[in-house]
C-alpha cells in the first residue's frame, strides 16, 4: 500500500496492480468495539427494516406509489399543509418558529449534501457559506432596505462565488486536505466578519433584519416570512432531487464511489468538485439569508465553526447522498435538541456521541444511500432493437484492410521508482482488429493498458490515438476521445443501480454515426441479456450492482464500455472468473465490436480464448515485447514457452 504523507492526493481506488485482488482484511483481527458484532447486527437489522418498509410501500397500488415517489407531488402536499398551518397558527407560536428553523437547516443540509454526500467531498466550510448568506442579507436588508427578492439572489451569487473559490483547490485535494482547507475558510470568514466591523457591526452584529417585498415598503408579516421560508425549502428540495437524478448528479456519485472507473467513463472529477461545491455553497448561503430574516438580530456568535459541524452531522446522520436523508437529519437534529434544551450539555454530548456511534454502527445514516433514480438507461443512443443478438464466432469480418492504425504506442517506457514496468514497447492496432496481449504476471500488460488509457503518463515514448498525441492527456479526456477500457476488478459504482450505470455510460459518447450508435446499444443489450440481466424489466434496471455476481458485473462493465461507442476498447483479463458459457458470450461480443470497426485489445491468461478470438498475439515479458504473431504460431514460439511456462537453466 502506498505510504503517502501527501494529504492532497485524492483518495482514488485500490492501487493498480497486475494481480486481481479480492477484499483482504488487514489482519483478520476485528478492531472494532467489543460490542462490534452487536453493533453490526443493529445496523443490519435497521437495513432490513428499511428494506421491509420499502417493500411495504411497493405493495401499495401503483398510482399511489408513483404519486408518493414523485417529488413534485409529495413536496407540494407538505408545502400546502405548512402554509395552512402558518395561516391558522398564532403569531407567537414557538412550534412554528421551530418548523421554520428546521426548514432552514434542511435547506443548508440539502446544500451540503451536494458536494458532501453526492460528491463525497468532506467539507467543513459549509458554515462559511452560511455566514456569507447571513451577513450579506443582513447588511442589504437592514442597512439598505433591500427587498427579499433582491437579497436572496445576492446571497445565492455570493455563495456560488465562494463555492467556486473553495472548490477550485478542492478539486485537487484529498479528503484530509479538503477538511482542513474548508475549516480554514470558516475561520477566515469569522475573522473577516470581525475585521470589517463597519460593515458587519463587529461583535455587536446587526439588528433589524426585516423582510420587505419592495423597496421602502413596510415590513412583511411573520406569516409571510414563514411562507417564504417554506416555499424556498420546497424549491430547494425539488432542485436537489432533480440534481441527484440528473446525469450531473450521477457523475458526482460515480466520481465519489470509484474515481478511476469514473474517469474511464469520461467523468472529470475536477469539474464535478467545482460544480458541486458552487451549487452546494450557493444553497448554504440561501439558508443563511433566510436565517438572518428569521432571527431579526445576528451576531458573529450565530455563525461559528460549530455550525459547520452541525450541518455535517445532519447530512451524515440522515444519510449522505440520499434525497430524503438531509431533511430527516435536519428535522431530527433540530427538534430533538429543542426537546433536550432544558438539559444543559446533553445536546452536545448527543451530537458528539452520534457522530462517533454512527461511524461504527450505521456509517451510511438512517436513509442509507437512498433509492436509485430512474434515468433513461440509453440516454440519447436510442433503444435496443428487440431481436438483437451477438454474431457467432465464425462469422466473417476482420481488420479493415489498409486502414491506418487507430492506437499507436511508440517506445513507451514506464518506471515506478526502481521498478521498470515497461521498457521501449512498440504497439499498434488497426480499426476492426482484435489483438491479444499475453504474458506472465509482472510482465507489464496492465501497465501498458494503464499508460494507453492515461492512468499514468509514460516515462518515455509516445501514445497516439487516431493521430492525436495523448501521452499526457487526462484519462477522462482520453475516454471522451473514444478509448474505453475495463479493469481486472470491475470498477463499477457500488451505490448505483444498473440503469444508472448505463445512463452514465451513454452520457459520454464519442463522435459516431447513428448506425454505429444503434449497433452499440444492441450489442450492450445483448451482452446484458446473456449475463442474465433482462433490461426490458424496470425491476432489473433498479437493481443495485452490489447484488450482481462477478460475471454479471463484468458484463455490465463491458456493456458500459460498448455504450461509449469507442474506437478502441481495452479489456483487462475480462474472462477471469467466468464460466465457459460466459466466456463464449464475451468472445462473441468482442467479435461483434470488431465487426463494427472497434479496435479491441484483450489482455488474457486464457490461451484458448486468445487462440479462438484474436487476429494477432503480442507477448510481453519483463516489460518488453518478446514476440508478436498470429495465434496459430503461439504454441511453437520458443520465446513464449520461456516466458510463460517458466524455464530452468
Amino acid at each position: 500500500m502506498p505510504t503517502s504523507s501527501d494529504p492532497t492526493r485524492p483518495q482514488d481506488g485500490p492501487e493498480l496492480v497486475d494481480v486481481a485482488r479480492g477484499p483482504i482484511a488487514l489482519d483478520g483481527h476485528d478492531h472494532r468495539l467489543p460490542g462490534a458484532a452487536a453493533a453490526r447486527e443493529i445496523g443490519h437489522r435497521l437495513g432490513q427494516a428499511r428494506a421491509a418498509g420499502r417493500a411495504q410501500v411497493d405493495r401499495l397500488p401503483d398510482w399511489l406509489t408513483r404519486a408518493a415517489g414523485n417529488p413534485l407531488i409529495h413536496a407540494s402536499l407538505v408545502l400546502v399543509v405548512l402554509v395552512l398551518w402558518t395561516l391558522t397558527a398564532s403569531s407567537n407560536s414557538y412550534n412554528l418558529y421551530l418548523a421554520q428553523l428546521a426548514c432552514i437547516y434542511a435547506i443548508a443540509a440539502l446544500g451540503l449534501n451536494i458536494p458532501g454526500g453526492l460528491g463525497g467531498a468532506l467539507s467543513l466550510g459549509h458554515g462559511a457559506s452560511y455566514a456569507l448568506g447571513v451577513y450579506s442579507t443582513a447588511i442589504l436588508a437592514s442597512h439598505h432596505g433591500w427587498p427579499v427578492w433582491a437579497t436572496l439572489p445576492v446571497a445565492l451569487a455570493v455563495g456560488f462565488a465562494a463555492g467556486l473559490l473553495m472548490g477550485a483547490p478542492a478539486g485537487r485535494l484529498g479528503a484530509i486536505a479538503l477538511a482542513m482547507v474548508s475549516l480554514g475558510a470558516v475561520l477566515v470568514v469569522g475573522d473577516m466578519i470581525l475585521q470589517f466591523d463597519k460593515l458587519t457591526g463587529g461583535t455587536s452584529g446587526i439588528v433589524n433584519i426585516v423582510m420587505r417585498f419592495s423597496w421602502g415598503d413596510g415590513v412583511a408579516s411573520a406569516s409571510a416570512l414563514a411562507i417564504v421560508i417554506f416555499a424556498v425549502g420546497w424549491a430547494t428540495y425539488l432542485l436537489h432531487w432533480w440534481y441527484r437524478s440528473s446525469a450531473r448528479g450521477l457523475a458526482a456519485i460515480a466520481s465519489r464511489d470509484e474515481t478511476i472507473g469514473a474517469a474511464a467513463s469520461g467523468i472529470s472529477t475536477y469539474r464535478v468538485r467545482m460544480e458541486t461545491f458552487a451549487i452546494g455553497s450557493a444553497i448554504g448561503a440561501l439558508a443563511g439569508a433566510l436565517f438572518g430574516y428569521l432571527s431579526f438580530v445576528i451576531t458573529p456568535a450565530s455563525v461559528s465553526p460549530a455550525l459547520s459541524i452541525l450541518f455535517l452531522v445532519m447530512v451524515v446522520f440522515g444519510g449522505a447522498g440520499s434525497r430524503l436523508g438531509p431533511v430527516v437529519g435536519a428535522l431530527v437534529l433540530t427538534l430533538v435538541p429543542s426537546w433536550l434544551a432544558s438539559l444543559p450539555h446533553v445536546n452536545t454530548f448527543v451530537y458528539g456521541g452520534l457522530l462517533v456511534l454512527m461511524m461504527l454502527v450505521l456509517p451510511r445514516g438512517i436513509m442509507g444511500g437512498g433509492r436509485p433514480s430512474r434515468p433513461r438507461p440509453f440516454g440519447e443512443l436510442g433503444t435496443p432493437r428487440p431481436n438483437s443478438a451477438l454474431p457467432d464466432l465464425d462469422a466473417g469480418g476482420g481488420p479493415t484492410a489498409g486502414a491506418d492504425p487507430v492506437l499507436v504506442l511508440k517506445g513507451v517506457s514506464r518506471s515506478f521508482g526502481e521498478v521498470k514496468a515497461l521498457e521501449g514497447v512498440d504497439f499498434q492496432i488497426r480499426p476492426g482488429e482484435v489483438v491479444g496481449l499475453v504474458g506472465p504476471n509482472g510482465s507489464g500488460k496492465t501497465t501498458l493498458l494503464n499508460v494507453a488509457s492515461g492512468m499514468y503518463p509514460a516515462s518515455g515514448g509516445s501514445v497516439r490515438l487516431g493521430g492525436h498525441d495523448i501521452t499526457r492527456t487526462a484519462p477522462h479526456r482520453i475516454a471522451g476521445q473514444g478509448l474505453a477500457r475495463t479493469f481486472q476488478t470491475p470498477k463499477t459504482f457500488p451505490t448505483l443501480s444498473i440503469g444508472e450505470h448505463l445512463a452514465i455510460a451513454s452520457s459520454e459518447v464519442a463522435q459516431s454515426s447513428d448506425e454505429r450508435r444503434q449497433e452499440a446499444v444492441d450489442t450492450a443489450a445483448a451482452l446484458l441479456r446473456m449475463g442474465g440481466l433482462d433490461i426490458d424489466q424496470p425491476a432489473t434496471l433498479e437493481r443495485p450492482v452490489g447484488t450482481l455476481a462477478q460475471g454479471q458485473l463484468r458484463f455490465l462493465e463491458v456493456a458500459m464500455s460498448v455504450l461509449h461507442v469507442p474506437r478502441v476498447l481495452l479489456l483487462d483479463e475480462p474472462a477471469a472468473g467466468l464460466s465457459a458459457g460466459e466466456m463464449e458470450a464475451l468472445e462473441r461480443a468482442a467479435k461483434a465490436l470488431a465487426q463494427q470497426g472497434t479496435a479491441v485489445v484483450i489482455v488474457e491468461h486464457h490461451l484458448d480464448l486468445i487462440r479462438r478470438l484474436v487476429d494477432r498475439v503480442v507477448v510481453l515479458h519483463l516489460g518488453t515485447l518478446l514476440w508478436e504473431g498470429p495465434p496459430e504460431d503461439l504454441d511453437q514460439a520458443e520465446a513464449v514457452r520461456v516466458a510463460y511456462l517458466g524455464i530452468q537453466q
Partner: protein, 240 residues
C-alpha cells in the same frame, strides 16, 4: 504414511468465501519440516487466498482446520501466527522502504524468541549472502529482485518453522528465478518447511518435493517426483 507427526503445518478442509464467491473450496495439505510443498494454479484458482487464510490475514470458514505443530491457529491473530513461527512472504514483497535492509531484518527478527534472534538473522544472511552488500541501503532504493531477497530474509529472521512464499518469482528475470529456487531448497535443507505458491509450473516443479494443482478452489491433482502427465493436467487446469 507415518503416524501423525505433530510438527509442521497441517491444513484440513479450508474454505474461504468472498461474499458469494467460493474462492477456496475445501483444500487440505501438510507441510513437514524440511519439505517443500508447491501449490500451482491459474489466476483466480485460489492460491493466494489459501495462503492468506493460513496466515490469518483473511477469515476462513468455520470447519477449516489450520494447525502448526500441535497448536491450532483457528483463534490466533495473524501477527501472533508469525510469532508462533509461521513465516509469510507476501506477494508484492511489502518491504519497509524507508528502513535499511539491516533494519528490515532486525524488525523481522522481533517475531522470534529473544534468545534466538541473533542466530536467526545470521542464518538469514547465510542463506542470502547477497544482502551483505546492501545492508545499509534503504530497502525502497533496491531493485525488485533485491527487495524480494530482503522480504525472504526478513521472514527467515523470524525463525520460522514453516515458511510460506506467495509467488516469489513474479516479475523476476530468469537468473533470479533460479536463485529463488536455490534459496527454497536451501531453506528446506535447514529443516524449515516451505509452502510455495507459484504460477509457473516449471519453477514449482524444480523447487518442490510435493506439488498440488489448484483449480477453482480445489486441489485436483497431487504429485511427488516425476509425473509425465503433469504438464497436460496443469495445462488443462490453466485453460479452464
Amino acid at each position: 504414511m507415518p503416524a501423525t507427526t505433530t510438527s509442521g503445518l497441517r491444513v484440513r478442509d479450508l474454505h474461504v468465501n468472498y461474499g458469494a464467491v467460493h474462492a477456496v473450496a475445501g483444500v487440505s495439505l501438510s507441510v513437514e519440516p524440511g519439505r517443500c510443498v508447491g501449490l500451482v494454479g491459474a489466476n483466480g484458482a485460489g492460491k493466494s487466498s489459501t495462503l492468506h487464510a493460513i496466515g490469518g490475514l483473511i477469515p476462513c470458514g468455520r470447519g477449516s482446520v489450520i494447525a502448526l505443530g500441535d497448536r491450532s491457529l483457528q483463534r490466533v491473530t495473524a501477527p501472533q501466527r508469525a510469532r508462533l513461527r509461521l513465516g509469510h512472504v507476501l506477494e508484492g514483497r511489502h518491504v519497509f522502504s524507508d528502513l535499511s535492509v539491516a533494519q528490515n531484518l532486525h524488525v523481522g527478527a522481533l517475531a522470534a524468541a529473544r534468545p534466538r534472534r541473533a542466530a536467526a538473522v545470521a542464518k538469514a544472511l547465510e542463506v542470502l549472502p547477497e544482502l551483505h552488500d546492501v545492508l545499509k541501503r534503504p530497502a525502497g532504493t533496491l531493485s525488485g529482485g533485491q527487495q524480494q531477497m530482503v522480504a525472504i530474509g526478513r521472514a527467515l529472521a523470524g525463525d520460522p518453522e514453516v515458511l510460506m512464499l506467495d509467488e516469489p518469482t513474479n516479475g523476476l528475470a530468469p537468473i533470479l528465478v533460479d536463485r529463488v529456487i536455490h534459496i527454497v531448497r536451501e531453506v528446506c535443507a535447514q529443516g524449515i518447511g516451505v509452502l510455495l505458491v507459484e504460477q509457473r509450473l516449471e519453477v514449482a516443479q524444480a523447487a518442490a518435493d510435493e506439488l498440488h494443482v489448484l483449480q477453482h478452489g480445489r486441489i485436483v491433482h497431487t504429485t511427488t517426483g516425476d509425473d509425465p502427465g503433469l504438464a497436460a493436467i496443469v495445462h488443462a487446469a490453466y485453460l479452464n
